[in-house]
């Protein structure tokens, strides 16, 4: 009986201390109205925990250097958030977009 109560207490503590489980739902790279471009990323927290996550977007070109943008944001339980990452490069289709969401933040 005492063992079960101890397991229950540990499980409750573990549930109360959960971090977020960020997942990239969608990402698009499009031209911005004032010039340059913007990456729109929809991030979803698939877990019941919360915490600060880091969204990192990388544009890879066939030739030339890659372009990277990142942002940290707070995610609450089961939230879905739209994140805009403005860039100076043109959205001319010559880049391949990769987006990752990380927890915890380095």
């Amino acid at each position: 009986m005492r063992g079960r109560l101890a397991c229950l207490a540990i499980a409750l503590v573990a549930l109360g201390c959960r971090g977020p489980r960020p997942k990239v739902v969608s990402s698009t790279h499009r031209a911005a109205p004032g010039g340059g471009s913007v990456i729109e990323v929809v991030i979803e927290n698939t877990g019941g925990g919360e915490g600060q996550v880091q969204v990192e977007a990388t544009l890879r070109a066939a030739h030339g250097p890659l372009v990277r943008a990142e942002r940290s944001l707070e995610l609450h339980a089961h939230e879905r958030v739209l994140v805009n990452l403005p860039l100076e490069v043109a959205a001319d289709g010559s880049y391949r977009l990769e987006v990752t969401a990380r927890y915890p933040v380095d």
């Binding site: 573990a14 959960r18 933040v105």
Partner: protein, 314 residues
């Protein structure tokens, strides 16, 4: 309490010896597998674990501690683990072939020096010193000698002393006649764990032996007397135990003393602590505890990797 019983003596009869050998082989295999899994998890997910440690109040050095802990376990139990895997493989063979292989490859090639344990009572056989040759159709394991308070094992491979002495003591305790109101027969010191304490005890017993000689009286030290029937029973038990004793030789373990320490006032202000110590911990208990610790650490590390906890942001 059950753990304490295991530590003191898990071998009370031949059946228990057989069970101990199987359990020990299982413990070695589980311990090594869990240690390698924990080490792999810590190394492969090091970045995540260090980030979590640095974002929380957990010392990053704790990860290094666990790496060192499992490495020490892997190194110290390595030969015994190889032996455990060998034993599991050998159990696929028929008993005769298994015994012959162990005798040829693990007994004849690894005979060690004398192993010694000390009893609380002075044991005398029908002719004084008791000597039992540990021998069967597959060959000789060694020689067990009970000389006064000394349990001696000569010409035997390492790893045999512990279970053999436990079994011999349990059998002697059943068949020997003790002084009225005397303590039950028990091993109180292991020379391979605490040599200096064993030397001091031996000198003390010898002094009482010489004093009894000078006074021309019966032994002054409490005694346990074995008659011819009791000696025959001891020989029969050891003969029955020969196959299991031979199998224990495959897993040479390091003998340790054990100490439990419970701080009544928590660390770092542990002004009041309670201790309990044992002169030798059987590998089933010591490595069993280590296995439980490694499994707990593995489950905790896997949980943290799979379900990272909340930590403060930047």
């Amino acid at each position: 309490m059950r753990l304490w019983d295991l530590m003191e003596s898990p071998v009370q009869n031949v059946r228990a010896l057989r069970r101990r050998t199987s359990i020990l082989a299982g413990i070695h295999i589980v311990l090594t597998t869990a240690s390698i899994a924990l080490l792999a998890l810590l190394v492969l997910r090091l970045k995540l674990l260090v980030t979590l440690a640095q974002r929380s109040n957990v010392e990053t050095l704790l990860i290094g501690f666990f790496v060192a802990f499992v490495l020490v376990l892997l190194v110290t139990t390595g030969p015994a683990t190889v032996g455990a895997v060998t034993l599991v493989a050998l159990r696929l063979l028929e008993a005769d072939r298994r015994q012959r292989w162990i005798q040829q490859h693990r007994v004849e090639t690894r005979r060690g020096r004398r192993t010694l344990a000390l009893l609380n009572l002075w044991v005398t056989g029908p002719e004084g010193t008791i000597e039992v040759a540990l021998e069967d159709g597959f060959g000789r394991l060694g020689t067990l000698r009970v000389r006064g308070v000394e349990l001696q094992l000569e010409g035997a491979p390492d790893g045999l002393g512990g279970p053999l002495f436990e079994l011999a003591t349990a059998t002697l305790g059943e068949v020997a006649a003790r002084d009225p109101h005397g303590s039950p027969l028990d091993i109180i010191l292991w020379a391979n764990v605490d040599r200096s304490e064993a030397e001091a005890y031996q000198s003390q017993v010898r002094a009482f032996e010489r004093l009894a000689g000078v006074l021309e009286t019966d032994p002054l030290w409490p005694t346990a007397r074995l008659d011819a029937e009791g000696l025959a029973r001891l020989r029969a038990v050891l003969a029955e135990a020969m196959p299991s004793l031979r199998e224990t030789v495959v897993m040479p373990d390091i003998d340790y003393a054990a100490e439990f320490s419970i701080p009544l006032v928590p660390e770092p202000l542990a002004f009041v602590q309670i201790h309990r110590s044992e002169s030798r911990a059987d590998p089933v208990a010591s490595l069993g505890c280590a296995t439980v610790m490694v499994l707990a650490a593995l489950i905790a590390a896997a949980w943290v990797v799979l379900f990272p906890p909340w930590v403060p942001g930047k």
